[in-house]
Amino acid sequence: MASTIRVRATNSGDTTEVQALVQHPMDSGYVKDASGNLIPPHHIDVVQFEHGGKTVFTALWGPAVAKDPYVKFSFKGAQKGDDLTVSWVDNKGQSDTLTTKIQ
């Protein structure tokens, strides 16, 4: 299966700008389906971005974050060509991870 993560990291001298999109239903647990049954909660809890063995960004997502979430941030201290690893874990224990090169 194709990865659930799309990420782009671009370095411009000092800072590296990261944009990522994650494919996930992000069900809050409060929405009902067409036949009136509650859709059980299914959402990402933690997203992490690692660079050079250090966590550069952590997001504690939860039921209030929309479907297929998008995140954008920047950090200092990386070079072009470095590896950046993205990973997420959801409330059902499912997870995905992806490593990309900083451009």
């Binding site: 194709a2 944009q19 990522a20 929309a66 998008y70 954008k72």
Partner: protein, 279 residues
């Protein structure tokens, strides 16, 4: 006396009806339609009309430019590309059903099929392709169908709409029917398609900015944040009907196909910009 008047009236009415049928003139409609929008929005570059609400509202446009750096339709596009390249059980692919293997042809749809006398939209052609190859038809409104059309639109980006209306009475009738559907009021709110998209583009309806009818089909399929997912041309037409509290037709109903034919012809020369992202 009265009877004579009645008979004359009937003759006159019959004459008037044939006169209406004879005046189906897509080219004149096209000129008037385009002139209406370009005169009303003189600051909007012609090719920008395909960007719908973003051509009308600077603030919205700023947000869209930011969103488009990492477009929400990306997943659908990737899926569509994968589906398009995956052979059916009989070894054939979607590409085998289309001219140029299905690449860069979105701008030619819908077209008038001279053999059957009906309007063939891209969505209809895709399902017919599946059925001809022994596969089940897809839902017309979202998911797989939207993914496939997203990919086909993406390979056609920038190509100008090239819809032909041959001088075949059946093609002209389909065009005229589409036009009539577009301008007819319906639903509890008594809105025609044109009430919003011709009379009021750029104005707000709740928090939404209404898109101009000129070029409105060029960005389909679209990712709508309101839908939380992708939607096809069929879905767009269906929801237009339900939002005016009318009863939507079945997807790919003859009327819907005719409307798409009419609107696409009105957009001739404008570039394909799909898949799109809308609030």
């Amino acid at each position: 006396m009265l009877r004579a008047v009645g008979a004359t009236l009937a003759v006159l009415l019959a004459l008037a009806q044939t006169a209406v049928a004879d005046t189906t003139d897509p080219q004149a409609d096209f000129k008037a339609f385009r002139a209406y929008f370009t005169k009303r929005f003189p600051k909007v570059p012609l090719n920008d009309f395909v960007n719908g609400p973003y051509s009308m509202d600077a603030d919205l446009r700023k947000q869209w430019v930011a969103i488009d750096e990492f477009p929400p339709y990306q997943f659908a596009l990737d899926k569509g590309q994968e589906m398009f390249g995956t052979p059916f059980k009989n070894g054939k692919t979607y590409g085998d059903c289309f001219a140029n293997k299905g690449i860069g042809i979105r701008q030619n749809y819908p077209y008038f099929d001279e053999k059957t006398g009906e309007i063939i939209t891209l969505e209809l052609a895709l399902n017919r392709c599946r059925q001809a190859n022994g596969e089940e038809a897809l839902s017309y409104v979202k998911d797989d169908m939207a993914a496939l059309t997203a990919y086909m639109a993406f390979t056609s980006r920038g190509q100008p709409f090239d819809i032909k209306i041959p001088s075949d009475p059946r093609a002209l009738a389909a065009y005229e029917n589409g036009k009539k559907y577009f301008y007819s009021r319906r639903g509890q709110l008594n809105f025609a398609c044109s009430s919003c998209h011709v009379q009021s583009p750029g104005e707000h309806i709740h928090t939404e900015v209404l898109a101009p009818a000129l070029g409105i089909v060029a960005a389909l399929p679209i990712y709508r944040s309101e839908w939380g997912g992708m939607g096809t041309t069929s879905r767009r037409l269906l929801t237009c009907n339900s939002q005016t509290r009318g009863v939507p037709l079945e997807p790919q109903d003859e009327n819907y196909r005719d409307v798409e034919y009419f609107l696409s012809y009105m957009s001739n020369g404008l570039p394909i910009s799909g898949p799109g992202a809308r609030p």
